[in-house]
Symmetry: C2
Subunit: 339 residues, 2 copies
C-alpha cells in the first residue's frame, strides 16, 4: 500500500496560498512576511511535511536553461514558434533545450524526465496528439517548476497558456470563402480531442450556420497530413458532387490537397478554392500561392517564453495562471477567388 | 599564470593507449587487464594526476541522453537529419535534446556548456558558420564525452564524422546541366571557410573544366539564402549576357532564384535551368518542381547517431576516429531541361 506523501501543494491548498509562497516561506525568502512563514512552518509541523532537502537545493540552483517540448521539431508551425522562443530566451540570458514528443504520450513523459534531470528552470510545452492524461505535467508543477503551454493546451491543468484564436481564425477563413461565392465547402479536420482541431471545426461550422448554409457531415473529413490529403482528396473530388472549396486544418494538408487537385485537372481557385491554417514557409512557394490563416508562431513562442521567465523570477503579482490569446490573420493569396 | 593540469588524455598519450582504456583502468573496469591497470596507476602516480572524483562519478552515471547541436533547427536539411537522429536514438533507448547555435560561435559554446551540465552521454554537432575555433569541442573530448560531427565538420578535430559527398554531388549536378546544353552556368556559393561550401564550389569548377568550359569569376556569386537570392538574381539576370543555368548551394536559395526569375518573365527551364542542393520539402512543392542534389539528411542523422551510441558503449575495436561519407543523388525534376 502506498502511503500518501504530503507535498508543498497540500500545504498551499490547506492555507489557501500559492505553492510558490509555501516554497519561499520554507526557504526563508525575504519577500514573505514573518506571519506567513510562521503559519507555513506550523502547518508543516502539524502535517509532518518534510521538505526534500536535495530537491530544494537543486531548485535553488538556477541553470538558466529552459526545456521545450514540441510535438514535431520539423513541423512548419513549430518552426516559427521555436524561433520566437529562442529569440526571447537568448535576449534574457537563457539557453534552450528542445525535445520532440513525436506526438507520443510516452515520449512526452521521457522528455519531462530528461528536463527534470537537466534541472531546467522552467518548461514550455505543446501537447502531443497522443496525450490524454496529464500527471507528468502535474509532476512538474508539484516540483515547483513553472510550466507554460503554447498552442496545444488542456483545460485540466491550471497553468499559464499562450494559445491561438483557433475558432475565430477558422470562422473568418470560411466566412471569406462564402463571401467569394463558395457554397459546398469541405473541411479536413484534425483529431477532435485536441482543442485546436476541435475549435477550428467549430469555427467552420459556425461560419456555415451564420451564412445559412447546411452543415453536411460527409464534407467533414478526418485528415491532417500531406500524405493523408493526397489520398482523401482523390476520393472527395471523384464524388458526383465535389466541393467548390476545401478548408484544411493546417498548411501541409492544404499543399497535399492543392497538388492532388491540380494533378486531377481541376482549376484552383476557379473550380476549387483552398485555404490552409498556419502560414508556414510552404504557403509562399506553392503555385498558386496559398491563402491561409496566419497563427503568428514567432509571436506565440516569444510571448510564452516571456511569461515563463517572469514566472521563474516570480515577477507576477498573483500566482493565478494567465491565458494569452494571440489573434490570427487571414492571409489572402491566390488559392481562393477574389471578392 | 595557469598551471597545466594533467588529464586522462596526457596519460593515454604517454602510454600509447586510448583515453577510454585509461578511464576504464582508473574505474577498475573488468575488461581491462591487471597489467594495464597497474601500468596506468603507476604512471598516474608518477604524473601526480588526480582523477576528478566528481567528474568520474558523473561520467559513470549514464543519463541515456544525447545532446545535439544544429546551426538552425528549422533549416530544411537539418529537419531531416533531426528525424534520423531521433529515430535511431529512440530505437536504442536514448532521448535527445536539441540545441540551436543560430550560426553563432558564442551560442555553440553556451550549448556545449548546457550539454555538459545536463550530463549527456554523447554529442552530435554540425558546426555554426561563425565557428572558426574549436576549443569547446576539444573540451568535450578531453572530458571523455564522445563527439560525432555531421555534415559540417572540421579537419582540426580528430573524432568521428558523417559527411556528405559535397564535391561529387556538385560535380554531377553541373555535369548534368552541361549535358542538357547549358553553357553559361552561374554558381551561388556559401561561405568558403565551411568545408561543405568550399567543396560544392570545387565540384562546380571541376565539372566546368572537365567539359572544357571557361570558369568565369563573375558567375560565382556569394549567396546562400532565400532573401539573398531575391536580390542577387535581379542583378545577375539584368546583365547583358545573363547565364542559362544557376547552380545554388542550397534549396532555399534555389527557390528564391526561381521565384525571381519567373517574376522577371524568364522561362524555367527553357531559358534558365536551376539546380538546388538538399532535396528538402520545398523542392517538391515549387512550380516547376526543383531539380536538386539529395543529401539524404535522414540517413546522415541515423548513421551519426548509431556511431555515437557505439562510441558511448565502447563497441568499436579501435579508438581511431572513422569518417563515413554518405553519397548524394541528383534528383531530376522540372527546373532543368531534359537530356
Amino acid at each position: 500500500m502506498k502511503i500518501h506523501q504530503i507535498t508543498i501543494k497540500d500545504v498551499a491548498r490547506e492555507l489557501g496560498v500559492s505553492i510558490s509562497t509555501v516554497s519561499r516561506a520554507l526557504k526563508d525568502h525575504p519577500d514573505i512576511s514573518p506571519q506567513t512563514k510562521q503559519m507555513v512552518r506550523d502547518l508543516v509541523e502539524k502535517m509532518k511535511y518534510k521538505p526534500n532537502a536535495i530537491a530544494l537545493s537543486l531548485r535553488n540552483r538556477r541553470t538558466n536553461i529552459l526545456g521545450v517540448i514540441v510535438p514535431e521539431i520539423v513541423h512548419h508551425f513549430f518552426s516559427s514558434v521555436i524561433s520566437g522562443i529562442d529569440e526571447a530566451a537568448v535576449a534574457a540570458g537563457y539557453n534552450v533545450m528542445f525535445f520532440q514528443s513525436n506526438e507520443s504520450y510516452e515520449r512526452e513523459i521521457m522528455n519531462i524526465q530528461s528536463i527534470i534531470n537537466s534541472r531546467a528552470d522552467g518548461v514550455l510545452i505543446s501537447l502531443a496528439k497522443g496525450t490524454k492524461k496529464f500527471n507528468h505535467i502535474k509532476q512538474l508543477l508539484d516540483d515547483n517548476i513553472p510550466v507554460v503551454f503554447f498552442d496545444r493546451a488542456c483545460d485540466e491543468i491550471e497553468t499559464d497558456k499562450v494559445i491561438v484564436d483557433d475558432f475565430e481564425g477558422a470562422f473568418n477563413a470560411v466566412d471569406y470563402l462564402i463571401k467569394t461565392g463558395c457554397r459546398r465547402i469541405a473541411h479536413y479536420a484534425g483529431p477532435q480531442h485536441l482543442q485546436i482541431s476541435y475549435l477550428r471545426k467549430r469555427g467552420y461550422i459556425s461560419a456555415l450556420e451564420k451564412n445559412g448554409l447546411h452543415v453536411e457531415d460527409d464534407l467533414i473529413i478526418p485528415c491532417d497530413s500531406y500524405e493523408g490529403a493526397l489520398e482523401v482528396t482523390r476520393i472527395l473530388m471523384g464524388r458526383s458532387k465535389p466541393p467548390d472549396a476545401i478548408f484544411t486544418v493546417n498548411d501541409m494538408t492544404a499543399v497535399g490537397t492543392l497538388n492532388t487537385i491540380k494533378a486531377m485537372g481541376f482549376k484552383v481557385p476557379d473550380e476549387v478554392s483552398i485555404v490552409g491554417f498556419t502560414d508556414g514557409l510552404v504557403s509562399s512557394v506553392t503555385d498558386p500561392l496559398l491563402t491561409t490563416v496566419s497563427q503568428h508562431g514567432f509571436e506565440i513562442g516569444k510571448k510564452a517564453t516571456e511569461i515563463l521567465i517572469k514566472r521563474i523570477n516570480e515577477e507576477f503579482d498573483s500566482p493565478k495562471p494567465i491565458t494569452e490569446v494571440v489573434k490570427t490573420d487571414l492571409v489572402i493569396r491566390n488559392s481562393t477567388r477574389k471578392l
